[in-house]
Amino acid sequence: MRSHTVAAEGGAAGVARADDTLAAHFDDTVRGGDWLSDQDVVEPFVAACTDEMVQLEQWGCPWSRQADGSIHVRFFGGMTAQRSWYAADKTGFHMLHTLFQTSLRFPSIERFDEYFCAELLVDDGEVCGVLAFAIASGEPVVLRAPAVILATGGAGRLFAQNTNAGIVTGEGMAMAYAHGVPLRDMEFVQWHPTALPGSGILITEGCRGEGGILTNRDGERYLENYGLGPAEPWPRPKAMELGPRDRLSQAFWHEDQAGRTVATPQGSAVHLDLRHLGEQRILERLPMITHIARHFVGVDPVTAPIPVRPAVHYTMGGIPTAFSGATELTGLFAAGECASTGIHGANRLGSNSLAEILVFGRNAGETAARWVRDGGDAGAGAGWQRSDHGSSERSARARSTVKLAEPAAERWLGLLRNDEGMRVAELREAMQQIMEHEVGIFRNGAGLQHACNELAELRERYRRGVRLDDRSRAFNTEWLSAIELGYALQLAEAMAASALARQESRGAHMRNDAFTERDDERFLVHTLAYSQGQGPPQIRHAPVTITSSLPQSRVYGAAAEQQTQQAQQVQEAHDQGPSVVAAGGSAAATGDIATGERATGERGETAGSREGAARE
């Protein structure tokens, strides 16, 4: 009930209206991901979303409604249709608490609240459990399990300015990485364009969905100058303030460079203006934002614009999983932000991640349960250090799991005995500054190389020891943050090295050196970072699965509208190709794509009819 899901404000995507289609959700996702999404995963994903929203509704989630009592869905950035299910501006909160409260119905679910998972235990290439510490006592605990699902969230805390909770430190990813599982597409980090300067507290995209606008110091709606305009009519989907997050954050960067941002004590900002919506609508639709703005920065959005700037928000990359939630390590599953399921590609669309946790959470849970039931492991069903009533084989297995855990526990407990080195906060802040400056919204080769060198140096310092004030065991949060920091430094290094190796600009990964353009010839591929222990990671690349939507130029605003129009004309001429609007979200046959491309050139829309039909 404390997961960072609780803070998600905006919405969860699931096709719900007659004027929307699965194909449109597929297209928006693939386009939003700048064609780095695995389309064979996006397709079943979009098909599964809506049922999960309905399931939550039936468990009590108070989704916002229309006057007749049916579900109300709203627009979100990069989405062609109204498809975001929301619960006022507390969507994640209501989803999480609905699920948590529903879980209370099942006494068979045993929770280990406030156990800190420190390491995966892997025996002969198979996961056999985890080493955890009971936080209240600091005692090491071995949780034996033939299947482990990581649901540890992203790694936004690697950066100085982020919207994330204190727990979003990424060690789940790093635990898998340490056991040879590659981390995929780690260079793709999403900056949310509207966070409070300094604290990074999130101001939901829902504000823009309701019609909020962004202006620079001259009061100009500057997004018009970055291929997202024209400004009017407003609001309309996939244009201006409802463009995708990567483009909005990049536009801020340029405005800031040009000196057209507003100075605040916490750094430069632009204005998010809601005033024209009127007091009633602001209070009714955006109560949490009103509250946050009034209390945290002393601004009343009814009478004044809110200062906002981009902050790190979401980690697109992570542990590669199949649609089933399985990773390449036997017995290990992952779901949510720590996973790289392949749906987000180079840039996640808002409200796809809340849908993702439902769809892939279910998949991972069901697959793991099946794996255990089908006897995936001799110790199946065993978990917590219970006395072994089973076979001698099972107890031998248990002993070997505990043996695996001992050196790991000893290593982490060893941190408590160290007298020298930097303080945790000092080392963490050094890492966050490097990430902020060199692995930011825009990156370049020299900066990334510098980041790699600095991070290697920080890892070396960490190995030499961090100095803890607190040497005790009970609820020692300084010690736990030291464990997190060790993992975070490895992730930061994987991120910087992955970014350095991607010599192109795509989605959220933008370079301002020689590689300012997308390069499909060389980089329509996933990045895989493999841990090399103490050395820098090894970077390899792997193919992206494209089933139906070939890469096109990714345009928004008027250009996208033109693209859609052209594609529609092509489509009409084509007389409703047989498989274009496939109900299951499966997309156009190759022949249709080729036709679209020939007719409309670089701007060809693969399945324009879907988008056209879905537009309001």
């Binding site: 009592g69 409260q101 119905r105 909770a165 945290f296 906060a425 005790s472 009970a474």
Partner: protein
């Protein structure tokens, strides 16, 4: 941190189970700025002055419910209280009242979690339904009936404020009772009769003495006092019904 406004004195209650017989107060001096929360003050201490100071926190935006403590003797979220309102201090910060202390500002919430399960704070549908049946229709007025009570972030400020819980730890308490009522008032739910025996007991709604401090300290407007007292009428009717119709089932 933005421009400092000055310095504030924090007095924080400390307690370590491995070596302290009793809690004690420790003083720290912290520079603060206009937008700095009490949580950020505590983080400043932890990062720069004393790594042993222990407290829970997570979201920083008053929605995860993790950082509740007594701030100037009032239960409050540390992330949602601002140093500017207490400067120059001394500002006293202590763990939430009425709950067992684990260490420093960290309390043990397990009593509440157990009670949440006991009151069956989850939807019990009137008839089985699957996603294939589609969502329920729920008109805005029907949603409004329970909506406020569904905003509980489980921060336990109301337990720290409740005089009845202070007197009697068996009292189910404000948040858990409000959550039970949240489902009782939901027109999708059919679980009221299953919840009622416990709600109707001495541990349940009748323990509430109508002081209302739970609703005053609630950071989310859940209004547990209203939820509890709205339940007293159905509880009374159930009681009356049970007396009149006991033999007829």
């Amino acid at each position: 941190m933005s421009e400092p406004c000055g310095e504030i004195e924090l007095q924080v209650q400390r307690y370590h189970p491995e070596h302290d017989a009793q809690p004690y107060w420790q003083t720290y001096h912290v520079p603060y700025s206009y937008d700095m929360s009490v949580l950020e003050g505590l983080q400043y201490v932890k990062d720069r002055l004393d790594g042993t100071l222990t407290f829970r926190w997570s979201c920083r935006m008053a929605i995860c419910g993790t950082c509740g403590c007594m701030i100037d003797n009032q239960p409050a979220l540390a992330c949602h209280s601002f140093l500017r309102d207490f400067a120059p201090g001394p500002l006293r910060i202590a763990p939430l009242a009425h709950l067992p202390i684990v260490r420093d500002l960290v309390i043990d919430p397990s009593d509440f979690l157990e009670k949440m399960g006991r009151v069956q704070a989850y939807l019990q549908p009137q008839e089985a339904r699957t996603p294939a049946d589609g969502p329920y229709r729920q008109r805005p007025a029907a949603m409004a009936a329970y909506y406020d009570h569904a905003q509980c972030i489980n921060c336990l400020l109301c337990y720290a404020a409740c005089p009845q819980y202070d007197r009697d730890r068996s009292f189910i308490g404000p948040a858990a009772l409000a959550l039970a009522q949240r489902y009782n008032l939901d027109d999708r739910d059919g679980g009221r009769h299953a919840r009622q025996p416990l709600l109707n007991s001495e541990e349940g709604v009748w323990g509430c003495t109508l002081v209302g401090s739970c609703s005053q300290v609630c950071p989310q407007g859940v209004d547990p006092a209203r939820a509890i007292n709205r339940n007293k009428l159905p509880s009374a009717l159930d009681w009356l019904g049970s007396k009149l119709f006991r033999r007829r089932g």
